[in-house]
Symmetry: C2
Subunit: 680 residues, 2 copies
């Protein structure tokens, strides 16, 4: 997904550049740079950056491992716990299944990693599931992958942040009451950081990941030594009432089927450990050369670390009879038991939080990037295609942030409630991406293609089966939401694409030149003779020779005095009077203009309306929004253009100054500069 | 306040007339008559009425008594209760003060009625306090009266509706939980009825008032006969805990001062009986001729009925030892005790509700009328000056309704909580109006002027003293809110007036004619060559000969291909290219246009922007609102006009059809009809 997509010019941001940037000199008093909103935005996200600052930081293997693996590795913070939650329903003896299940998942991980290793070499610029599926399988599989990915990026943020906050509330139980607030605050900070753009970030970001890796290795090492040396007894099993899953089930199925189903569900939940595995193959383009080779090596390291941590955690949890509780994560319990409650314990909890925030941060890079690719392909609104002031895809970042916050709020920041929704999309994408690779190899047919195709095919089938297991076993636990939402997203993407395709066809230039013989009539609604009326009439006479003033007589008998006043004003613009028995100014105007256009007397009508622009916001309430109403009334009428001529109240500069007769007579600018007409 | 003020044409409503009115034929498919909102509005308030339907129904004395006295007479529903609420704090013995206090108030009523009788003859077209005070005392007293009146009209609605609903919940205690809902629903119904306009209403409206008068006379008559005949024992005093005022006080003052203060407060609260007394003098213009004489007679009848009912209720309440409770009104308790719980009881309760709703209805006539007078004088927003479709002052009606609903909601529909705010404004107006009359007589100096001036002067002084008593004794009970709000309203009215005066001065026509020598430059921002671009360019070339297309290069290097494409499109419009290192399209455009105007190369710049108008609402989200952003950016710049040329997606008729070259060549309309230019 790291394909570099330039922002479409059509959709470039309309925000203003900085008022004191080095290159273009600021325009004084232009009314753009001094708005409170603008100043607040600058404070939060910083000054705009020029486009030439958009360069890709190339990552070393060490940095890439930290940046791109945080999503995958951080899932050990909750994966083991999810297996235990399901097994706890059966009996404490069933908890022994946690290690075999984890081992199966690690086997699957190895298969997927090997499969993706081939993608890394085939797509040296980054092979995201959407790109691979669309290129090789066609539009619809591509859209399925896109919908699944969008869903999973949102869930990555929600699950990782909830998991991270759970690491903190495990250490400080008093904070548990503020879980949702802590989650929302974390997402807000992530959003601001990403809106600022985080280009200088690689090195900084690798610190928490490496701290987490070191501390986890220490935890597993110390745990093993103590366990195998028989240095301590297993801790007491958590009280039964505290087992989360106890409230979720009422098993009354035959034992054999129920057991199989529950084991499959435990497996399905544990597969959450594999989320994020695709990050390295998506980010090949960001590696230092030789990028494919470096990425493949890093992918191997990531898989090895993840496998070690996951198996280690599961084994330790089983050995120490750790049971999931509502107040403390399994990892925190292990941590507390093995490290005690000292600096190491708190260090690992903070590192867990940090690495999970980094995991969420990868979604903040991937979601906007995928959105921009989809927007450029016409499947998402154009606003997602453009880079903002700070070169980040601002709209995508904000959209992701809002939806993730909504999810966290709806699910009360409860990781266990969110996880059944997660991983489904990931496995759908794994499968589509690898199936795409099979087609890719079949098409290339280079040396050894069939071996590669077989490996990817095996991966595709295995992950497809896992996806089906995910949906069936977790359906009633929330997976139905994803099953419902992914097709809805696909329908939405297609509807948007249809609109843009339709629009592109309609707007497509068909070769006519603007060679025109137009009769252009300008109508100026007037009700009194004022400076604003005068300005509107001057503008009207500047753009056409057929100008008519229109007086709508809302009070019978008022027209006579207007006629007298108008006739004494010798400006050669005819005044037309129409009655309005219902006191509406709009309808008689519409009828008059319709009469002009339908009679064939003119080709094109412009309506010129003065628009009062007061100085203070509340003064807007004191003036009728006539210009706005007229614009709305004529918006759908062909061949009618409504023009508002602003009249600024209480400002030094305003349009009418231009139309000051005396000033104009004193004006000695070159009269040959262009068309100068005299209407009078 | 019944001065007939025609709607200013400048502020006539912009709503559309009916789609099937008899006189003007409907325009098919004009997009105005078929909107869901319009259809819903028609259903609620009916079709628009033509201005010539605006005629004043002249009222007979009998009808006028019913229509104009409902406000005054209905106050017996709560006035006695307010006195009792204060006296209950002292002791049950103190309840005996209720009759003397009521008698003092009736004395005051007679004085005010006599005083207003003179106003009736002096202002045969209706003498509202604002008009009388402004004409005779000056602007500031006029504004004080206006602010006091506006406040009191709002309180009339809130208090009367709360009182009416209390009459219903007294009869059906189960409804008490829904008090606020019932109040809001009643106000909504009143609002809709008034928006429809209620011209044929006089006769219909007199029914509830006369039913109320008859039943009240019966209640007082039967009550007196039974009481004086000793036919029944006094009912038990309501339990002390239920006395509302018990929670309001902790009297620790010296008995003498406290007693005086409480008696004055009881008097102040009881003065609420006099609210509405001014209605007849305001409405003189609505009487059949001789209107002043008829109005004076009706005023006498009203005062007599009010005095009888108020004194009667107070005497009966004292005789039967009725105590105010939170669940049942005093009048309902009397009613139940004297009539039993049969048809008569429910009849009077319903009649009380109905007459209180009518009282609220008078405010729905007076508030919008006063608002329209104030708007015409430039003290309120112009939108209040205009009559709506149905000839009612729609904006005033809606504003009154919203504020009254807010009050009812804030005070939980509790009459006793609202009443301390009430009556203050009324007495301020009484006093100002009569002081104004003194000046009026002094100016006229016709026969017997000094006697009349003395009577009005006495009234003015007496009511001024009452107003002071009101403020001091009720200050901590809510009167402070009114003391705060009336000056704020006056400040607001003056600020609005200042704005309009300023605006009128700025907009005042100063005699220049639109004789102009203008160099008019048109800038068309383009990013691709499309039908929309083409339409914008055709329009641009129709309104000026100096047209420039402007390409903002947001992605470096993109300009070259645009230049090539443009040059192959031979339309004689120059393409100018400006770079945008910050990807903004807006800022380079602003800078370009500023360069044009500041260099003196042109006098006036129009920016022509295509505006995409999609067919379905959600499709708006798929297009950048470029035209809107550009309009906003240039709103405050002098000599720059932004023109949006609509491009309709997915509609049969659209602007570009006009610009279809082939169609134009086939066009054989008279070429002599006006200016036809060829740009190519």
């Amino acid at each position: 997904m790291s394909t570099h997509v330039p922002a479409a010019p059509a959709d470039a941001p309309l925000e203003e550049p900085p008022s004191s940037s080095p290159s273009p000199s600021p325009i004084e008093g232009d009314g753009l740079g001094s708005r409170p909103f603008t100043r607040f935005k600058r404070l939060l996200v910083g000054r705009p950056l020029p486009s030439d600052r958009l360069e890709h930081e190339r990552l070393s293997k060490k940095t890439a491992l930290a940046v791109l693996s945080s999503d995958a590795i951080s899932s050990v913070a909750y994966a083991t716990e999810q297996i235990l939650l399901v097994l706890a329903v059966l009996s404490s003896a069933a908890l022994g299944y946690v290690v075999p299940i984890s081992a199966v998942i690690v086997g699957l991980l190895v298969l997927v990693a090997l499969s993706y290793r081939q993608t890394v070499f085939a797509y040296p610029n980054g092979g995201g599931s959407y790109t691979v599926a669309k290129d090789n399988l066609g539009t619809m599989p591509g859209l399925v992958a896109a919908a699944a990915l969008l869903t999973d990026y949102i869930l990555t943020v929600a699950v990782s942040i909830s998991g991270g906050v759970a690491a903190i509330t495990s250490a400080y139980p008093a904070l548990a009451a503020h879980t949702v607030l802590l989650c929302i605050a974390s997402i807000v900070v992530l959003t601001l950081v990403n809106l600022r753009g985080v280009r200088e970030s690689g090195a900084v970001f690798s610190v928490p990941t490496y701290v987490f890796i070191v501390l986890m290795l220490a935890l597993i090492g110390v745990g093993f030594v103590r366990a195998l040396g028989g240095l301590d007894a297993a801790p007491a099993v958590a009280p039964r009432v505290d087992v989360l899953s106890a409230r979720q089930h009422g098993t009354s199925w035959p034992a054999g089927f129920a057991l199989t189903f529950l084991l499959l569900r435990a497996f399905a939940e544990g597969c959450v450990a594999m989320t994020g595995t695709e990050a390295i193959s998506n980010g090949v383009g960001a590696f230092k050369t030789p990028s494919s080779k470096n990425a493949a090596t890093t992918l191997g390291w990531m898989a090895a670390i993840l496998a070690t941590f996951f198996l280690g955690t599961s084994w330790l949890a089983q050995h120490y009879h750790v049971m999931p509780t509502t107040t403390e994560t399994v990892l925190s319990q292990l941590n507390r038991h093995i490290f005690g409650t000292g600096a190491l314990y708190f260090g690992l909890q903070y590192a867990t939080f940090a690495v999970l925030v980094l995991a969420a941060n990868t979604a903040f890079a991937d979601f906007p990037r995928l959105s921009s690719i989809l927007a450029n392909d016409g499947y998402m609104p154009r606003q997602f295609a453009a880079r903002g002031d700070r070169l980040a895809f601002s709209n995508g970042i904000v959209a992701l942030s809002l939806v993730a916050m909504l999810l966290v709020w709806l699910f009360h920041g409860d990781t266990s409630a969110l996880i059944p929704l997660y991983a489904i999309g990931v496995f759908v994408c794994f499968s589509l991406s690898q199936a795409g690779m099979v087609v890719h190899w079949r098409r290339l047919r280079d040396a050894g293609w069939s071996r590669r195709a077989w490996l990817n095919g095996l991966g595709a089938v295995a992950t497809a089966i896992v996806a089906i297991i995910q949906v069936t076993t977790k359906f009633t636990h929330g997976a139905w939401i994803v099953v419902l939402i992914i097709p809805l997203i696909i329908l939405l993407l297609r509807a948007i694409h249809k609109h843009y395709a339709h629009f592109a066809e309609e707007v497509r230039f068909r070769g006519q030149s603007p060679l025109m013989f137009l009769h252009h009539t300008v109508v100026v609604p007037v009700n009194r003779i004022t400076q604003a009326t005068s300005a509107a009439l001057v503008y009207a006479t500047a753009i056409s020779e057929d100008v008519r003033a229109l007086y709508v007589e809302t009070t019978p008998g008022d027209a006579a005095s207007m006629r007298t006043e108008w006739d004494s004003w010798e400006i050669d613009v005819p005044l037309e009077i129409v009655p309005s028995p219902y006191r509406s100014v709009l309808r008689p105007l519409v009828r008059y203009v319709d009469g002009l256009t339908s009679s064939g007397a003119t080709d094109l009508v412009s309506i010129v309306v003065p628009e009062i622009v007061p100085r203070r916001w509340w003064e807007h309430l004191l003036h009728n929004k006539t210009a706005l109403f007229i614009r709305t009334a004529f918006l759908l009428r062909p061949n009618v253009i409504v023009i508002a001529v602003p009249f600024h109240v209480g400002r030094a500069h305003r349009l009418r100054d231009l139309f000051d007769y005396d000033e104009m007579l004193d004006d000695d600018r070159s009269p040959g500069a262009g068309e100068r007409r005299r209407i009078a």
